[in-house]
Symmetry: D2
Subunit: 390 residues, 4 copies
């Protein structure tokens, strides 16, 4: 078996009009380690064909039916068959292709949230454990170099005992009811049939929660939420204010909103411990502010020349020298790069530093779904504390 080759990726969803499909492809291509070999980009055959054509795929490996794609690929010989599949459909269409791919032996990388319901998520996790296949979930923001740095510093105890975590994810794009204007993204996200029990918290609140746990190294054990559709006529939440309890007694606040008019996407996290605090925000993603009351604030900066003070965890996720700003796509590519290492290990037995080259897995996906359920439940119960393990 020839292992000296790019990994071959198939894709389900992500055709024309999909924002995230294109992002996944750039992330996969960026390092020259992965090539796209097949896709079921759209249920509409003509549209899927068009996408496949634009992506230079041979016609016979472009499908409208992902079931057909998975079966066909499974029958190809090893030298041609895709190595893993990226699933970038809306939430509601995650479970079925994922479970089928796993059943056919294909590793999966999937957009978050993992599934439509917690039950689906749990079922997927069982399947992943059963099959032992690499399974990635693209909680992108955990893959920024400075987030790797932050996590590593907290882990090493640089901040002492953590007692407070503040995380926020403000957006403003749903302040107006753009779903009524035919905006595709807005339409499915605000539709319970496609988005599930939550829009805002499910979409961006889960990113914020994942980041909070990832950086602090602490599990969120309880939530008390007020989520709601702010704009009249909307069925799902477009705004969420959530109090958090963490396993070690730390507390915190998670704020996520799609009606924070004028805000773009400025995910921000602050972690406070008895020995120090840190702050990171996506708008200035290549900086990490580290501080304590008695000393000058320090700004840690991304860069391949920053090995003198950055942790190995950060350095392994950095591509350019200091002052050559990295961005969102590079973080996304970090997930694909690490996921590809897991696939190579699974397939070719190539070892690598799994702890430092980590990526979000099905466990993160399940935790995210459990959190959505708990947050929705807390509000339904009149803003009471709800356990995230319920």
């Amino acid at each position: 078996m020839n292992s000296h080759r790019k990994l071959r990726m198939g894709m389900i969803g992500g055709g024309e009009g999909s924002f995230i499909g294109g992002v996944h492809r750039i992330a996969a291509f960026l390092d020259g380690q992965i090539e796209l070999v097949c896709g079921a980009f759209n249920k509409d055959a003509a549209k899927s064909k068009k996408s496949g054509h634009d992506l230079f795929l041979p016609e016979h490996r472009v499908y409208s039916d992902y079931d057909e794609m998975l079966k066909s690929e499974a029958q190809l010989n090893e030298e041609e068959r895709m190595d893993f599949v990226a699933i970038v459909t809306p939430n509601v269409a995650h479970y079925d292709p994922a479970i089928k791919a796993l059943n056919l032996g294909f590793p999966v990388i999937i957009d978050k949230p993992l599934a439509f319901t917690l039950e689906e998520a749990v079922s997927l996790k069982a399947k992943v454990e059963e099959t032992g296949l690499p399974f990635g979930v693209t909680y992108t923001y955990s893959a920024y170099p400075m987030i790797k740095q932050a996590r590593a510093m907290v882990k090493k105890g640089a901040l002492g005992k953590i007692h407070k975590v503040l995380v926020e994810y403000p957006q403003g794009w749903l302040t107006q009811k753009v779903e009524d204007t035919g905006q595709k993204q807005a339409a499915w996200r605000t539709n319970p049939d496609e988005a599930g029990i939550s829009n805002c918290f499910g979409d961006i609140g889960t990113h914020a929660a994942h980041l909070a746990e990832y950086v602090s190294g602490l599990k969120i054990t309880e939530v008390l939420s007020e989520i709601r559709p702010t704009m009249s006529g909307r069925l799902l939440d477009d705004d969420a204010n959530v109090l958090l309890h963490f396993e070690n007694g730390a507390n915190g606040v998670l704020m996520a909103s799609q009606v924070a008019n004028g805000e773009e996407n400025n995910l921000k996290i602050r972690v406070f411990g008895d020995q120090g605090g840190l702050e990171w925000k996506q708008e200035d993603l290549n900086s990490l502010l580290v501080r304590d009351h008695g000393n000058p604030d320090k700004i840690y900066r991304t860069g391949t020349d920053r090995g003198g003070y950055l942790t190995e965890e950060a350095m392994l996720h950095t591509r350019t020298p200091s002052g050559h700003p990295e961005g969102y796509l590079e973080a996304f590519a970090n997930i694909y790069r690490n996921y590809a290492l897991a696939v190579r290990k699974h397939k070719f037995g190539e070892a690598y530093d799994e702890e430092k080259l980590d990526f979000p897995t099905v466990d993160d996906g399940v935790k995210g779904m459990a959190l959505v359920k708990a947050v929705v439940s807390s509000t339904a119960k009149g803003n009471q504390w709800v356990s995230t393990s319920s």
Copy 2:
């Protein structure tokens, strides 16, 4: 009666070692409209004398007993007597001198929180109404030029209907138990006998709440809080996470902390409406960010040359041209300037634009005390919603 003269101020508290006493004096002196004529700076006669001496006061107008000072001043003739008294003692020692001053006919300006208990506050309010005397409470942050601008813009409807308010006041100075090291400020603030039922929320949470109401023009009707002493051995809260309900249906989050390690004092407010959003933070106090999703963000800036686009409310609270940064002391001085106008009106009948040259009054003080009580009560009840009018 000669009205063409500086106003004469007396001061209770604010001797050596008091941070806020010096601030009040600078604020009073800055515009050259007020002079200090007497003081009871400390209960310790020697210390009070020392402070009076340093402030160039004649010995006979320096007291250790404020009661004595108030009575003595009341007996002086009109051409010598103080016109108003500034009370800058700790919370626990607010009520008595204030009520006595009012009873003797002296207008009062007092640091926040207004009193030690809500009952005291309500009693003070009744006395103010009975006497009709000008009464100011130094919620400083409402007096920044860009806060005046923000409030005026919201009032005019520039943001449309407000649906969300985020306000935070993070400090880190109590992360370590500095009260055990003899730090005077920390000692009294963390001591229930001196600070009352709340430390963190009472001290800085109330500033944040006042700002939220001032800018949004909306009353906070309900709170759901989690406040607590984070550091072990502390009796009062040093941290507060509070969900807010406003009168018009808007909601929000108020976060105040003294254990946000590394944070200084970066009070920040964001207000979101269906037509726009705004953001202001004390670290960049001369800027106001105004935005909505469809247009470039706009930065409004302080400056006496900004009359072309700033509101009259902002211009009336600005002293320097654009790019000559104003600071905290100037905001404090704005309160003294406006309060002095009220005293002059009361005393000399000089009219002025009371609406645009406003300052926080006993009503704000009472609201602050009611809020502290509601916030403490919410946590005591297991993080339930509590009405602020209870």
Copy 3:
């Protein structure tokens, strides 16, 4: 002689319509150490009278003729006479009142530039040396706490050997020909009869140059300039690009402009040495960025609680705790405070730490005038290097 009293200040110029007159008064009043006792605010008697009245001065100490004021004050007895005089007239009217005040034994504090010509400046310096009177020149920007910190750090060698200094002072207010609209400030500054041989460089370039020398501790020895009136019809420069040579072989660039459309007043300095670099800008005046290539950047911050890491020089010029932003007026007040100490020492023999509580003197004023001459000369000679000692 009673020395336990406020210092008594007289003022020449600074009546209604003067921006800088009000600034000087606030700066003088802010700390409660100085009182205004007399003034010749305007050559127009009615206007001067009006200003004096607004400032609560007794009529008999308000003058229209500064000559008369100086003579009258000189004849008052010690318990009434002004202790020093602040001169805040346009450049053209600096020399005469200053020399007369000195001749009558009055210490002088004066706005920059020191005089109308270098010759006047040199003559004033001789008079100051002859009389031994305290003489201050308000190069304000050197009095910010973080500038004190920067200078002290450079002096201690924290940056190693300095090899490059970049300083800029961009303004945009003269992009349009506002002098044609009757704007008073613009009118005199662009008029050679009132402003002298330079407008932009004389007004703000000298501030930048002073700051460069003050922070670096290095004298500018040569300049190569291109200054010019950018807007047609203007006689004096409104823009200046200047290459700098410093005494130790360091070089640098000074850029000052009044036609940098949209810029406010963001004076900025960067100093680079072989062991480190620093950056400060007025828009974020309470921060000082200190860095070198191998370590995280550090942000030093103003605050009375920053004694743990700030130098004594910085701490002595700080009034509020960290996070309570100081501004331009406080920097200006620092100059008045230190100047007042010099007057007290001269008058009452009170010693103080003259090195750490410094203020710009007649020497700085002369250097500024020499620099203006050299810069104008360099451009006149076709952009050649010109010595600043010529």
Copy 4:
């Protein structure tokens, strides 16, 4: 001829240890429109082979001798042959492979500066004109979305007549003599035999100059420079201060340094016109500040959802929605994307909007070389004005 395929790229230079080689590959791969098919990565055969292997190239298309590669590729049939070649060797090794590639009919994309001497550059230009082949030079910074926006706005007259341009490119990495420690990048750049007549100005000053001309739309006609090796023992400049004259009478300053200790790579440009000013800096690359004195500053922001106010020029160079930060690699990819369009047009006749999808060409390369020569000459002549067309 099958035109529905990825373009096939060959690469000369860029093997292990080369920073820029990896950047070119990421830039080429990112959009999935280009594949690498051959390379002469290193003169050392083993090293080149290793690089080719790591890049999954077949052994027979990996060379140590670029001459051999070019000839071999030229002999391949159309369905296999590379479509263009990327040259990423040090300056000294640009001309020969470029001219040979052109002679064999291969389009070239090359790193800047274009060549080792102006003469080589002029010769290359002649060859490009003779052959009519697409020729790109990677002045990366001109390809940021907000730079496209800035240029388009200036072109449309949004700033009025431009009178001043400030551009700076500060780095600190050569403050210490890292070339003595074996740092490869530092070694060749500071070596006249490899870098040519200039190090700092040639490397980064040319980037700054290109950006100044690109955004302002104005040609630099004259320069007056002071460049020098700051650190003792260095032969080439590591620092440059340059005064600029532009064709329309505007002037400006260009500052580039490698000894600005602590600075990373914060390329910054400001353009001032009589109707407005703009500011952009690489550290905040997704924002463009647009302002004039009479109105609030505006912040234009990158984003695929910003079509409401961004120009088409900006939108065509944007990949992610607002708030999903783009970075340096995406700008580089923009150049490859546009260059690929030119190759496709040349090869397949596919038309596209050449004006809006522009990239730096051999003309820019020649201008850059002429500028280096003029800057070096100006300093040699004692800091005199030198024409850039000389």
